[in-house]
Structures are given as C-alpha cells and as structure tokens.
Symmetry: C4
Subunit: 253 residues, 4 copies
C-alpha cells in the first residue's frame, strides 16, 4: 500500500504533470485543505509556459479527463467547451512572475480565513512547519465591486507582485495562495500552513508575549530538512496512500 521508491523529482512529461495535478487535488481535499472551492495548477514541463488545471469541479472529484491546459496570460489552450475557473488568473500570474515555481495552490480553509482577519502575523510554531518562520505577506487590495475575487490578468499580476519571492501569500477574509518548486512542495506547504494556523488559533488565549515562535536560524534549518528528498517523498507517499484508501476510484492512479 505504501510506495517505498525514492522521491522522483519533477515530472518530465505533460502526462505525468497532469497525473500529479489530479493527485494534488485529491490529497488537498482528503486532508481538508480544499472544500467545494479552490484549485491547484501544475506547470507543463514540456512547454514551460503553460500549466494544467481542472475545469470547474470540486477538487475532491477531479479526474484526469478534467484537465485543461492554460497559458500564462490565462488563455485556455485546450480546445474544449469545458468551463475554466475564473481565478485561473492567479495561477497564470504567479507562474509567469516566478520561474522557480512549478505548482500553485489557491484555497480557503476556515482556519486561515478566520486568522487572516485578526491582523496578527502568520508565524511558525513548530519544526514541521518551520518554512513559515518569516511571516507571510498579506494581500488586502481587492478591486471595488470584485466580490473579493481576482478575475482579471491585472488582478493576478497585483497578487503576484505582493507575493514577491515568498512561499505564499495570505488573502484577508478570503484564503491563501501557495507555491512550490514541485507539486510535492506545494502540497506540503499548503497542508502545513493550514496546520500552523490551526495551532496559532489554539494559542489565541495564551499570554502572547510568552509564545516562542521559531527563530530565523531555526526556521532556515527546518527548510533544509523538511524539503529534503527523503522528507518530501515520505510525506507525499503518505498523503497519496491516504487519498487512495479514502477514494477507491483512484485505483492505482
């Protein structure tokens, strides 16, 4: 049931990238980071300047046949009548601005939405989520009349500018957008930001001056160990095995 082969690095074919995109959707739904809304994208390794993303469907039920190819201006490349996510502009803009990014998440776990309204920084409390030692930027420049959604290429570009070179960006009263230099890292970052935020909420009633967040030295150290092939591979295979157990239709996907 558990796959013991070492972490294989980035996919080299479009087909493999699409399969990882399906798994990422399923994993993030199974771990309760995505619900009816939200989406992920994976860069096409064969082109470099297009990406894969599901058509409009809840992540828990995404299949291989739902995959659309989109370019970095957010145009749909696939010839299809399928409906694409309006917020694909976020993914296009981030993948355009950040050549180091291979995969992008956008979603709305309740813990992050709630904490984002407090004005308090998102900071690492633990080794496993030490990559967030440097508080994440927070976006709060919604266009008037937008319903707090980002739907134009300009909206996407504005978010990408605010993201800068951070791993991710919190969106006040909305959710967060997260990156990874692989699908595995994007999934780990997304799950662990949710988990770290859950821990920050647990501690809201504690005397705030006493709380020991990770120091920069500690945080930088954990990035090395958490993003090692052995750690990324182990987590990914754990999440895949759990998703396959909960979602028998995945088969030996």
């Amino acid at each position: 049931m558990f796959d013991y082969t070492p972490y294989a690095g980035l996919p080299e074919t479009a087909d493999e990238a699409k399969k990882q995109c399906v798994l990422a959707n399923r994993i993030l739904a199974n771990e309760h980071v995505l619900d009816g809304y939200g989406h992920v994208s994976v860069r096409n390794p064969e082109t470099g300047n297009t990406f894969f993303q599901a058509r409009v469907v809840a992540p828990e039920f995404v299949t291989y046949d739902d995959m659309l190819e989109v370019d970095l201006q957010a145009n749909i490349v696939t010839k299809t009548d399928f409906r694409a996510y309006g917020e694909r502009v976020i993914h296009a803009a981030v993948l355009k601005a950040r050549q180091d990014v291979f995969a992008v998440f956008h979603g709305h776990p309740h813990e992050v939405v709630a904490f984002s309204t407090t004005g308090m920084p998102f900071r690492s409390l633990g080794q496993f989520c030490g990559m967030f030692w440097n508080p994440l930027p927070v976006f709060d420049a919604y266009r008037s009349g937008s319903g707090m959604l980002l739907s134009t290429p300009e909206d996407g570009a504005e978010l990408a500018r605010a993201l800068g070179d951070a791993y991710g960006i919190v969106m006040r009263g909305h959710g967060f957008t997260m990156t990874g230099n692989s699908v595995q890292q994007m999934v780990m970052n997304s799950i662990f930001l949710r988990d770290n935020t859950k821990m920050q909420l647990m501690l809201l009633p504690a005397p705030s001056a006493e709380i020991r967040y990770l120091s920069e030295e500690e945080g930088r150290g954990t990035e090395k160990t958490q993003y090692s092939d052995i750690s990324l591979g182990r987590c990914w295979k754990y999440w895949v095995a759990r998703a396959k157990k909960a979602m028998p239709d995945l088969g030996d996907f």
Copy 2:
C-alpha cells in the same frame, strides 16, 4: 461521480421538488448542520401555496416516501397517518410571508446555539460567507411555557415578522431559521452560516477591535459571485456527490 451539467434553476414539478427536499436533508446531515432534530421545506412549484417536508424522522435518514405536503396555514394536505413536525409552523409562516422564498431550513448546530447566547452579532468574516455582511436578526420572544419551541401558527407568524426580508434569523439558545430563493441557495446559506459562526468562535479570544469583518461593499459584491449559477451549481453538486458517497442507499437519486 461529479455532475458537470449547469445549474438547472428551480424545479418545475412537485416530484422534482420532493427529490430536492430529500437531497437537502441528506446533505445538511452529511455536512453536520442537522443532527437528530431539524427540518427543511421546499415550496411545491405546481401549487405555489403548499410545501413539502418529511414526516417525523431524523434528516440523515429521510427518504422520498417520507414526504408530506403541507399548506401555508400548516395544515397537512397529504392523506396520511404520518406524524408531522410540530415546528412546521415556522416553515408555513415564512413561505407565506415571503413569496421570494422557495425553501426553508430550521436546525440547531452547536456553534450557532452557543454563539447565539453571547449577545454578539453574527457577521461575515470571509468571502465565501459574505452574504452575512449585514448582521442577522436574533429572535428571543419565546412564549412562556412553550419550552422555547414554536408550535402555533401565531408563533410562526411572529418569527416571520422578526425575520423581515433577511436571509435568515438566529434564535437565541435554540438555533436558526434560514431561507433561499432555491433549494441550492437555502443549503448554501445554512452551511455557510454555520461555518461563519465556527470562525467567529475561533476568534473569540482575539482582540475584538482588530477584527476585520466584511464591509457592506465587500459583502454585496460576494452575494453576486456566490449566488451565481456557476457557484451555486458547483457547490450543490459537490455536496450531492459527497452525500451519495457517504450514503450509498441514495443510489443515483
């Protein structure tokens, strides 16, 4: 497993309305908004002045054969020995007072019961539940000796007056009653009010003056996007697919 067809709008037949009523019961139990108590109603589109509701049964186990037809004076139209919910008077009164309402929810999720006793307003913290930017009215006029239940047509009318033209009304120490101009909107409103309240509870220990609720401008914007056909349809199909997975007896209902 996921149904990709567009949102179909209101049902045109009594049969289809009854089926949506069964699904709404199952979805709201599956998403933990209804437990052993609580009920939903759906207007009969063929008459306009009667509605469907289950006989006395826990929502998680409602079937098509449990459906009763009730009129807007809360009289049971169906010839049957089935026992009807005493609080059907709430549904009758709201559907009578509000011609714009097609479906009504009444239930008691713990989060809402608890928060209703604090005297604090129910207000939107996030984009996805932005329809509650305008704090919901709170009902607290229980008849002496009623056991805090509404069981007469007069009780129902009093609640409907307090509801006014809001989406829903919180009932202090009891739960809430919610409306929708479709079954899909009633289900979304009910789930998202529970979720928003859960987030408000998470933030009870945070410095309250710092919390950023949605502004009126933001809230009005989210109503447009959240209630769009694409958004309503996607969520409904997500909740239906989850309910069918958890409740195999639904089959291809």
Copy 3:
C-alpha cells in the same frame, strides 16, 4: 433504515433490557461519549432489584453475550468467570437510592473532565439540552489512596448521596454519572450533557456576564418537550440507526 414505530416505553423483559443495554453502549461509543473506559447499566424489569451491565470490555465492542446481572449491593448474580467493572458500585448505589431511575451512565468525555476542573457551573445554553438549567452537583470527595476511583459500596453510597435527586453528577477531574427513567432518557441526557459542556467550552473566551443561560422557566419547559415520547423516540431511533450503519456487526439487533 429508520424505525418509525412509536416509542415503546420501558422494556418488560430481562432479554429486552439486555438488548437496550448493548445498544446504549454502542450508541454512546459511536457518538464519542464513551471511549475505552466507561459503562452503562439497565435495571432488570423482571426483578426490579438487579441490573445488567457488560463484563470488562470497551463499550464500542459490547455484545449481548457480555451481559452480567448484578444486585444492588454490587454482587455479581450471574454464574460466570467473567470479570466485572470495579466501578459497578456506582451503578448499584444509584439504582438502590433512586427507584425512579431505570438506567445509569458513567464515563469520561474530555470536554466534561476539562470543564469539571474550572469550578464553573454546568448550565444549559440551549433548548435541546435544557434539562440542565439547574446546575448539576459536583462530586469531589475521593477517598485517599483510591486513585480517584469509586470501588467500594461505601464509595458508591457517597456518590448517590451527593447526586440527590438530580439527573446526574459531575465528578471533578474524572467524568460524570448520569441517570434516566428509561434507557432512552439516560442516553439523551449523557449525549446532551457532553454537547452542552462542549458549548460552554466554546464560550470560555466570551464576556461571561453577557452569556444568557436558560432560565428556570425555560428549562422546565424544555424538559417537557425533550422528554416527550415523540422526541425521545425520534432521537433514540436516530442514534440506533447511526450505530447500526457504523457497526455492521449489530445487524438487525
């Protein structure tokens, strides 16, 4: 799947009492009120002065064949090598002191253990758990060296005295003991005390002076509606149906 027959009142045979005892164990485990520890008892309606209880086994896995008969001095009546719960003295003493009681619960849900250490009263926040409008007594007279367990008939008698004529009694740092004039009422009281305590914990950070607990008038009213045959029957059948779905080995028990 749902049993629509009306509430049948107290069992008249020992066999039926034993079956209700098995179901109560399974329900309270399935609803997360009992874990590896804890136990329930049901008076034998054929004798009046003996009761049924499982041998030492986790409640989630209790079967009909585990039933022991015990008298009100806590002697084991059944000829058997089975090991009995040490704390059966609680059940014996309560069933001896309270002729109005037909069934007893003793368990340790985390919410109640935690809240019991705060010195704050256990009071009703909602209609559905309105039977606790009158704060429950709290027991804190553990014998030195007892490990906070009640294991002698004298320990049991002391608890029964502290219980008085209340529905139940909280045990500081330990859990609670609950009664019912039927198995159905005992199960409802046990689940709803846990739920009410969960809500009290949710509100710990709220301004305590503002919280509106149920008044005596409201609480007394809810006792009538919650303990009606229609309400007790509906809840019991809901919990039975859920337990049977989660525990297929129960069959059509």
Copy 4:
C-alpha cells in the same frame, strides 16, 4: 471482535516484539497521535540491547516486513538496503540510558507542539491521564544548524539526560518523546499525553488560578489503577480492535 484474554505481559520473542511494534504504529496513527512523521521502537527481548523500528515509512502503513533491528549506538543490525529514520538516535539513547524502558515513542501531535511553545507546564487534569501529575521536563537545547532535529548519538544522549527518570519529555516547538515499561504502557502514555494537552488547550481561556490539577497524592493513586494489568489490557485491546476495524489489511494480525 474484542479480545477478552488477560494482559499477557512483555513479549518473550523477537517475533512477538516486532508484531507489537507494528500494532503500536497502526494504533497511534489511527488515534491521530502520529501522522506522516514520527516513529516507535520496541526492545528486542531476546538480546536486551537491540530494538525494532520500521524503516522510513508513515506509521499508518507500517507492516511486519518493514521492521529493522538497531543497536543502542543507533547502528543498523539488519542486513538491508532499507533506509532508517534519522531520529532513531533518540530511541537508541533512551533505551540505553533507561533499562526500565521497553518501548519508546517520538511524534508531533499538533496539540503538544502548540502548547509546548507557551512555557506553561504540562500537568494532569484528569484521572485517566493522572500519570502526568508531575509536570514533564521540556527539552529546548537544539544544536545550531540542526533544523531542530536530533540526528547524532550525542543529540540522543542529551535528550536522554534531560528526560532523566520521567515518563516522557516534551520538545519545544517539535513534539514529544515518551517511554513505557511495555508497548502497552508506551501507547497509553502517548495517547493520554495528547489528550491531556488537548484538555489544557480547552482551558487556556479559563481563569488559570481556579483550575484544579491533580495533586501528587491523586496522581500517584491513578498510576496504580491506570497501569494495572486489567486497565492496560482493556485499553490495548480496545485500540487494537479499533485499528483492525479501520485498517482491514491488518487481518487477524
């Protein structure tokens, strides 16, 4: 489904120790104390100075064939290409320093990671987790550049010194390491420390001066009752039965 045989005491063969190690991994994953990370170890009763532990794999999916044998200097004894956990040095050092210890846990439940950053003591709130009446030591001497991981024999020895003769030790911003004089006691201690910490978090907003923790007298009493054969055996068999129900691949392991 439930195993009624009395608690059998320590395993006498390497084979039985390995089987208990598999079950401990599965139980601690099933009860949400271990996630993708974390590991347990069981002393080899045939040698006394080696122990069993899984190769690199998520605990939820550990099988008998994953077992490695490791010595107390953390050298891998088994001839294999399998990859071993880097933090096996913790297990080696504790089993070397503490001849009374038969099994060791190391993991990172969110509740413990969060609470460990507050500087507040970990103390017993309830009878069932009364073994923690004496606040656990807290480790906070991470080597610079270590990423807060313990990966050398010296790191392990330092932790073992800080542990002293306590049941376990909390690691600030990381998790905890727990011991037992049997696999059953190690599992109980690990689950109940997580549970006690969950209760401490529930009470963070309560007036702290009013909270009644267990006294030394109460705590020492609960150690006797909780660690009795009857109590350890009942809990272990409960957790085994639950794991087997949730993980059918365990069969009649």
